[in-house]
Subunit: 303 residues, 2 copies
């Protein structure tokens, strides 16, 4: 079965995964806007730690209405743009399509299935360091694996085929049977560092070095773990210690929200902060310190 | 009885109150450092909303060892400098002296009586808008009343006389029988605005205008009120609403910690944040959001 893939959001993540698939002769249709003319003339280039490659003549579109109906839609937009999916997805899908949200945070699948209840939706977490460094030019620095979980349907042949296609294309991919756990686990780190690096205008290493901010970061992790436990996702508190140890070993790092803030782009506050706080609160646990970071971020964003 | 007053910390607050007393023929001895030569030559000038005045030849010292032993010592240092009191106070007091800490926050009296157990200590809260705008030059903008409470001794004739002296000198002064309540009440506003204006680099009006920061400020107030209740100081939650309404009416304002931060001076983190958090926690209430502001402030201060 040849799957038609669409990529909505051809940034670092969507561009990298889509290009890998196309490199291995999968049929991929990319939606792009600002880079359209450049890619039309120059193709898509990936500078990868696993070897550079390029797509000389990718299928690209600057209007979703011109795209074919695809079997699988990879959504790699910033979640701040998710509202456009209400309009885009009905145009690029058919009744059996699967939409895979390769996005951070909690609640993206919930919102999407509220907007478009008939859609088969997956969530996915990408463990990859990649950056778009120029028009049609993506730098893949490290890692690359992806974990995909069905949100509102039983995993089917098409989804199994996606996993196969990914792995055949040099992307280590796995199906997760517990998407919520995967999302909450990733939130532990994301909540502890994304907001605080913005609020305190700093990088991970500085927050780890200073006794007070280190305690704050650790407390945030513990709150997220307790929030997860409240909603029935049993993450052990030692997971926070693991994340601390991992971060101690990292080079100074700007989380995606800090990068967005520095580039004056919208920050993904809703799905990284607001929804997790709401969801945990609805299950009886108030993540107060997380909530306060959210409030500070919204002030900063709206200023 | 003629009382000898010492003023330790001749900034806006100490300078104003000391000068008022001296203006009304009380005997006042001022300790100053950087302004000493200027005041020696030019006196102390007060530009007051109640009428300007000056002291042409005040009793000034730049060495505490040269000061007389005084009956009443008004301490108006920033609390960040309180360690010097261990050394200074034994030199300017006698066995019957009263030391009045005109300072913000919680725990200043406790620390001082731990250091110097034989001292009769009062706390005081100044309700005044005053700024030192130049060498030997203080601008008194508004208000001026002071509330004094004995911390570790029974109120005596000397303390009554202080109240009389203050009132005779145009300073509305009252004895408080509940210093802890007065301190906690003032903390409600101080905690909600001092740290957040530093962390979010803003003024009171901006924090009140934005929905998210307004909620943060209000939540901080409620936490302080619950902290007060935990230690047995019954402040009603409607007090937070009163403080919000009051702040809504204020002109854009930089709390003292914001002013200190902007001038790269030490911030009074310990007595406005650390001690209140510790004290409430010891009584079973964890002021989590307040604690997080403290952690952020310490990071900012130590950066």
């Amino acid at each position: 079965m040849e799957i038609k893939y669409a990529v909505i959001g051809t940034g670092a993540i969507g561009g990298y995964y889509g290009s890998r698939l196309a490199q291995h002769n999968k049929q991929v249709h990319f939606l792009l806007y600002s880079d359209f003319d450049h890619v039309k003339n120059n193709g898509l280039k990936i500078e990868s730690c696993d070897g550079d490659f390029e797509l000389n003549n990718p299928n690209i579109y600057n209007n979703v209405a011109h795209m074919p109906q695809c079997d699988v839609v990879l959504v790699a937009l910033k979640t701040t743009q998710n509202e456009v999916l209400k309009d885009y997805l009905p145009q690029v899908t058919h009744s059996k399509s699967i939409v895979i949200l390769i996005q951070n945070g909690l609640g993206v699948e919930r919102d999407l299935t509220n907007w478009l209840p008939d859609l088969d939706v997956c969530g996915a977490l990408a463990f990859i360091a990649a950056t778009k460094i120029g028009k049609g030019l993506i730098k893949h620095l490290d890692l690359g694996r992806i974990m995909i979980g069905a949100y509102n349907f039983e995993k089917n042949e098409l989804l199994q085929q996606v996993i196969t296609d990914f792995n055949e294309s040099g992307i280590p991919a796995k199906l997760s049977d517990d998407l919520q756990r995967a999302r909450w686990e990733k939130l532990v780190w994301n909540i502890a560092f994304n907001g605080p690096t913005v609020v305190l205008n700093s990088l991970t290493d500085k927050l780890m070095e200073n006794t007070s901010s280190r305690k704050m970061v650790y407390d945030l992790m513990l709150e997220v773990i307790k929030g997860a436990q409240a909603v029935g996702v049993a993450i052990d508190e030692t997971y926070a210690d693991k994340m601390m140890a991992m971060t101690d070993k990292m080079k100074p790092y700007a989380p995606s929200m800090k990068v967005d803030f520095d580039h004056k782009r919208a920050m993904e506050i809703r799905y990284i902060y607001t929804v997790p706080v709401e969801v945990a609160k609805a299950s009886g646990y108030h993540m107060k310190k997380v909530e306060q970071i959210e409030e500070q971020l919204r002030f900063i964003a709206e200023r």
